[in-house]
Amino acid sequence: MVIGFQSDNLKPFKLSVLIVSAVLVLSGCASSGSDATPSTIVIADNEPPQTFDPIQAGNSTVNAVVIPLYDVLLDFDANNELGPRLAESWKVADDGLSIDIKLRSGVKFHDGTELTSADVQYTMDRVKAINVGVASEVVAYKSTAIKDDLNLTITLSEASAPFLSALSRIYILNSKLVKANEGTDKGQKWLASNEAGSGPYTLKSYTTNQEASFVKFKDYYRGFDGQADNVVIRYIVESATQRDSLLNGDVDIAYDVATADLPSFDSNKDFSVIKKDTLVQLYIHFNMQKGPTTDPRVREAIRLAYDYDAHVKSILQGNGAVAKGPLPAVMNCHADIPAGKQDLVKAKQLLAAAGKSKLKISMDYLSVIEEMDRAGTLLQSALREIGVDLTLKTVTFPEYMEHVKTVNTTPDLGMIYAFPAYPDPHSVLAINFDSQYIGGGYNFGSYKSAKVDSLVRAAAVATDPSKRCDLYREAQQVIESDFTSINISNPKFVVVARAGISGDIYRPAHHNTLDVYNIKVSN
């Protein structure tokens, strides 16, 4: 029998219960607050990465884990300045068709082997061959010629102004290691849960969907000065739990504290709320080729229904601004397009004119993100006012990418951010609106405009900056006049960190990630 009720005497049992509970309470007091070792940072994020393969670093959750593990040739800093990393120096040819790169010497991968041109060549060729994820940023890549271990030349199929910027998302792989584990899919399966990098941290462990643990790589070429020995990224889906873990000391930095809770952290001197300007824009992309949204009046009506001001005021609590057109407002070459404004009367008229007074549509969105969750509900309610029945469908980013692969599976509306990988209009206007990126890249609405295609492609190869700007401005006007998307907001990046965390931890070019190497801890 489970319970010792055989004997008459319950006293020893009762006594042991008392002792055990006393011990529990006492040990509870002892383990209050955070862990023992002071040089561990715990970061709370709400979505685990789909893979650790850097080829998917266009997805911010993957980028977040790849940043500590790998290096790039060139990278952006917190002020959007492009600077050298693995590439010590580089020279773009006059015709823009090739780039000579000199690598820094003495860089080691985590397994001890030296990083050489062969690794760069392997990485670039692999990206081109598999043609997913970051490949859409470097379509101009043709081949790499190796001169010696530290010198190489990248050849492009056409001049590409944004190419150098795009290199900030090409993380260099340890070619020997990946080749040994290539399998049948060029190492995608192996790299899903393994790393082959040279970055400041190595991957200690990854518990699926729960925790990724990193430890300092002693031989990192840039050296260390105040960084934590261990970094843990913990996946906590609920913002309430993230908030409570911050308060409790279990977590040091949290990405997803609800905006309603920010004021209490602002006034708490044990914490600091870090707000930074971003390159980000929140969109809703219409399905431009199928369904009721193919009618421009329907699109215009839906755009006019949304309460943009309330979005910034209530949902963002002022941390951001209403978007102005398809290009994020802070970028260069911004056209003169006004911010969106709600006009329910006109919206109803447009729908009536289109003969669609009772419309039924659905929207994919990442409801795990607070801004999207609340925007979705706000849009749903607003559309009800004009007679449109909106069904909200929660998806994950990989799922959404899957849905936009074919026009038939693309939703009527898709709410998604643009996280531009570099502060150049190409990263938005081409990547999201050029028809060559339909069905495999980031053209989420299957938007096909020959005019826009020619404009952005010309701008990509143009060498005169002002001419480029003219082309981009015109492209924006065309996209806008087609009512291609609902341009909602340019939100700020907000994280809550415990006091004592400092450094340039956010870089707009790598949105929704922290520059782990630059997180400095002071207790």
Partner: protein, 336 residues
């Protein structure tokens, strides 16, 4: 007795087959192209076609069914489209944690329900009985997820008596032996760490147990009342046996059978309820794994959870049945 065990064991594969059939039926319900879904996010056309071959979707339904059963028996439950690992491996990682939680919750359940059942039976009709039964009623009808949230907030975030989420303090290293954090911590010899893991499991286990305590206590109470009214108790009292001994030795022992049965069923139901508790407290068990899998549309993972749950429940049922026979010899005679 042996005959009985063998007969019951023979039923196990039948039951598992039923569960597998139900699961196969569920897979057929999935809209869209299962091969596409199974091949994963970034599958190339060749990979999707390969998956179609593997799933045998071109073959007639009966053939698919047979190969499905075949694969399942061999433990091939498919590959998770998110972790890229066999689902069985993933499940192996997370199951021990749920077992640990259910075990802890069961301990609390038994430790609270048995005294509660006995006391309310003895003192039936009095104020104490009434008060205790109100409390247990509340325990049974309060929504588990709500209780978890509220207690987590009050006791965790506000009063800081318990940790918010997780199974161990972050940064703590526990070598994985069984997969159960408490056991592994104990096995590593690090006593303070062991107590800390107990601290982490305390609140989730308590929350999980509340709805079950009421039923167990009530079952025991009914059983005890029936027994206490019966003749042999009167006889025992006439013989002069002390009250205390009477209750424990005679009444409880005889009343325990239906309670034991209920407790056995509750193991399965508790495992199901981990779905609610684990995601609130950030514990990595089969419950949170299944929830994440559903929300990520990781079909194979969910199917595997249903299958494994079927296996576990059947085995527990079997053990309960055998245990019943062991406890009460009378049942051995009236064997169906």
């Amino acid at each position: 007795m042996a005959k009985f065990v063998l007969r019951r064991l023979a039923m196990v594969p039948v039951v598992l087959w039923l569960v597998a059939t139900l699961v196969f039926f569920m897979i057929q319900l999935i809209p869209g192209d299962p091969a596409r879904v199974a091949a994963g996010r970034n599958a190339t056309l060749e990979q999707v076609q390969a998956m179609q071959q593997k799933l045998g979707l071109n073959k007639p339904l009966v053939e698919q069914y047979v190969s499905f059963l075949n694969q399942t028996i061999h433990g091939d439950l498919g590959t998770s489209i998110f972790t890229f690992r066999p689902v069985l491996t993933d499940l192996g990682q997370v199951l021990p944690s749920s077992f640990e939680l259910v075990f802890a919750a069961m301990l609390i359940n038994i430790a609270v329900a048995i005294p509660l059942g006995v006391i309310t039976a003895i003192f039936r009709g009095t104020r104490t009985d009434f008060a205790l039964r109100i409390i247990t009623l509340l325990g049974a009808t309060v929504p588990v997820f709500w209780l978890g949230l509220v207690l987590q907030y009050l006791l965790g975030a506000q009063m800081r008596i318990f940790p918010i989420s997780g199974q161990k303090p972050s940064g703590a290293q526990i070598e994985r032996i069984t997969g159960m954090t408490t056991i592994d911590a104990l096995a590593s010899g690090n006593l303070p760490l062991f107590f800390m893991t107990l601290h982490y499991i305390a609140l989730p286990a308590f929350v999980l147990s509340t709805s079950f305590i009421a039923v167990s206590a009530r079952t025991l109470r009914s059983g005890m009342i029936n027994i206490l009214d019966s003749d042999f108790i009167t006889l025992a009292r006439a013989k002069g046996i002390s009250n205390f001994r009477l209750i424990l030795r005679h009444a409880l022992r005889n009343a325990i059978l239906p309670t034991f049965t209920i407790l056995g069923m509750q193991v399965g139901w508790m495992l199901g309820s981990t779905v609610l508790v684990e995601s609130i407290f950030g514990r990595q068990g089969i419950g949170s794994y299944a929830t994440t899998a559903v929300l990520q549309k990781d079909i194979f993972a969910v199917i595997a959870v249903v299958l494994v749950m079927g296996v576990v429940v059947t085995l527990v049922n079997l053990l309960v049945d055998i245990g019943q026979k062991l406890i009460d010899p009378r049942l051995r005679i009236s064997d169906a």
